[in-house]
Structures are given as structure tokens and as C-alpha cells.
Subunit: 165 residues, 2 copies
Amino acid sequence: MSAPPARPGAFDGGATGPAPLRLDAYLPYRLAAASAAVSQLIARTYETRFGLTIWQWRVLAVLGEGEERTQRALIERTGMDKVTVSRAVHALTLRGIVTRRSSAADRRATLIGLSEAGADIYREIVPLARAYEDLLLQALTPDQARELDRLLRCVEARAQALRAP
Amino acid sequence: MSAPPARPGAFDGGATGPAPLRLDAYLPYRLAAASAAVSQLIARTYETRFGLTIWQWRVLAVLGEGEERTQRALIERTGMDKVTVSRAVHALTLRGIVTRRSSAADRRATLIGLSEAGADIYREIVPLARAYEDLLLQALTPDQARELDRLLRCVEARAQALRAP
DNA sequence: CGCCAATAGTTGCAAATGAAACCAATATTG
DNA sequence: CAATATTGGTTTCATTTGCAACTATTGGCG
């Protein structure tokens, strides 16, 4: 006694094939949704308060650690695209946030570092970034926060491992 | 006995201001990185094997549940932008993957549904999507997988809640 | 009703994006 | 050590993106 389709003419995506995928519970979707929500929350602030794009902010964040880096190093550290890094660095240079000097060791490479002005912005933005993170993490216990971090790393590593071969 | 900066001229982003932010352990970054890695892993397959963009696939995934939907419904269900949905639907229509008929109840709205051809693709793509998810989840125990889902929802909800006010 | 506000979707346009071509410098190899 | 491959970074160009403006329709509300 199988019930006929409720809406004639509508294709029943479930009965004759694999059970329909529940997008809502699909890990890649959940990840993308969470990431987008968080990103949009914070990006607006960087943009309006500091005139920084997400990628400029990422570069700034790495340089804020105090070391000069080549663009290649920035690419590896941030996971950003080659071109994106180049443009972010260019824009930051124009605004005097970042300094460039060509590497003595390898004259193809340029070493990028924070200028004083950049350091000022960095000092201003970091507490804000932390504050946003705290606000987000208030939804979680400290244990859960640690666990989330761990799980995200696992999944990311796995995705990267599956990509190469 | 505070040590002098190791590299004179380099700005020390840590000592004189807030402790430098460790991008690596910063939740928004971890999220973006994991999401991008997973997305890139799968998107390529959709693209090369089925000629579908991520957004077209998302629309397909929702329609695969069997119900016709208005674009508005698709927007809510997928979190996609208005324009993005419109264009995805348009492309899918051209390829005969979805059908459109204008709603009798509200003639502004169009009801989008899967065509037979679309259902075929859907049936072909779903096992693949599941397989990818399984591959990813092999890095996790079932408990961890459930926990990750929960945590992602928490964070996303929090981010959305913080956005409105 | 008749007018104004809100909503479903589309389109125009300017900006963001990234693949591929490109330049310059270094590494490799016969 | 010359020829070639590789790498760091930039530029070009076609595509993608999304805001904002637009059309069409509906829903209030006096």
C-alpha cells in the first residue's frame, strides 16, 4: 500500500532513487553557511571602520606577528590566491600600511612588513577582532570552542589530503 | 631584562600593544579555511562532471526534495543572494534541468521544480555528494560529526543574531 | 475603489575575481 | 656554463558577483 505522490506531475525525488539529500544536514553546506555568516558579520566592520577588505585584513593579521614575509609566505600562511595577495599588498602599500623592500637573498622576492601606521591600525583592530570572536564563542563553552577548532582542522586537513591525489 | 627586538627596524607587533592575534587559532579564519578547502574539493567535481556551479547545485539540492519552490523559498532555504538564485535558475532552465510555471496564487512568483532530466542528474549526483561527505567524515567519529554539526549551527545562529541589532 | 507601500524577480553596471600569459631572477642540468 | 626549467610576482582579460535601479504584481488602508 504505497501512497501515490501528493502532487501529480511533481517529480518525487526520493522514492525512485537515493533518499533525497538533506542540504540542511550536509556538512559542506553547514560549513559554508557558518563561514559566510561569520564572515559577513565581521567583514562589514573591517570595511567601514578601517577601509580594509577581508584579504587586506588577513595580510595585516599575519604581518602583525612581527615578521617580514615574502608574498609567497603570505600565500601559504593565509591560503589566499597569488593574485589576491599581490593586490592586497599593493593596496596596503599605497595607503602606507605596509612597507616593501626587495630581498637581498632573492631579488625576485619582496619582503613585506608593517609600517608604523600599519602597526597602529593593527593595534586598534586586534582587540576588536578578539571581541567579535568572544561574542561568537559566547554561544559555546570553552571546551566546545576547543573542540570546534580541532574538528575544523581535521576536516580541512582531510579535504586538502583528498584534493592532491 | 627585556630583550631588544631581534630585527631592528621591524615593528614588534606584540610587546607594545595587545598580544598579536594568532590567525591560525582565530575562529573566523579557521571556519573560512575549512569551508574553502571543502568547497574547492567538491566544486570541481560538480563543475567538470555535471557542468554545475555551486549555486546551481544548491538549487538542485533543494528542488530534489520533491517540492516546487518559489525563488524566494529557495533564497531562504539556501542562504543565497536574490540575484544568484535568479541566475542559477535561469541557467538551469536553459539546460532543461528545472521547469518554471508562474504561480496561480501570486502571479509575481514563479514556481520552480525539477524536470525529468533534472531528476536524472539529481539521482546521479546525490550518491556522489554523499560519498564526498563520507570521505570527509572519515576523519571524524560519528559522535564528532554530530558535534561538529551542532557547533556549526550554534556559531552560525549566533553570528546571525549579532548581525541584526 | 484608489493610492501607497511592500514583495517577486530581472537587469544594468561597476567592482571583484582568478586563470593564464607575462617578466624577471634563480635553480638545475647536460 | 649555456640552455632550460622553476619560482616570485604582476598584468591582462574574460567571467562572476552583488548593489541598486527597474518592472510587475499584490497587500494594505483610508
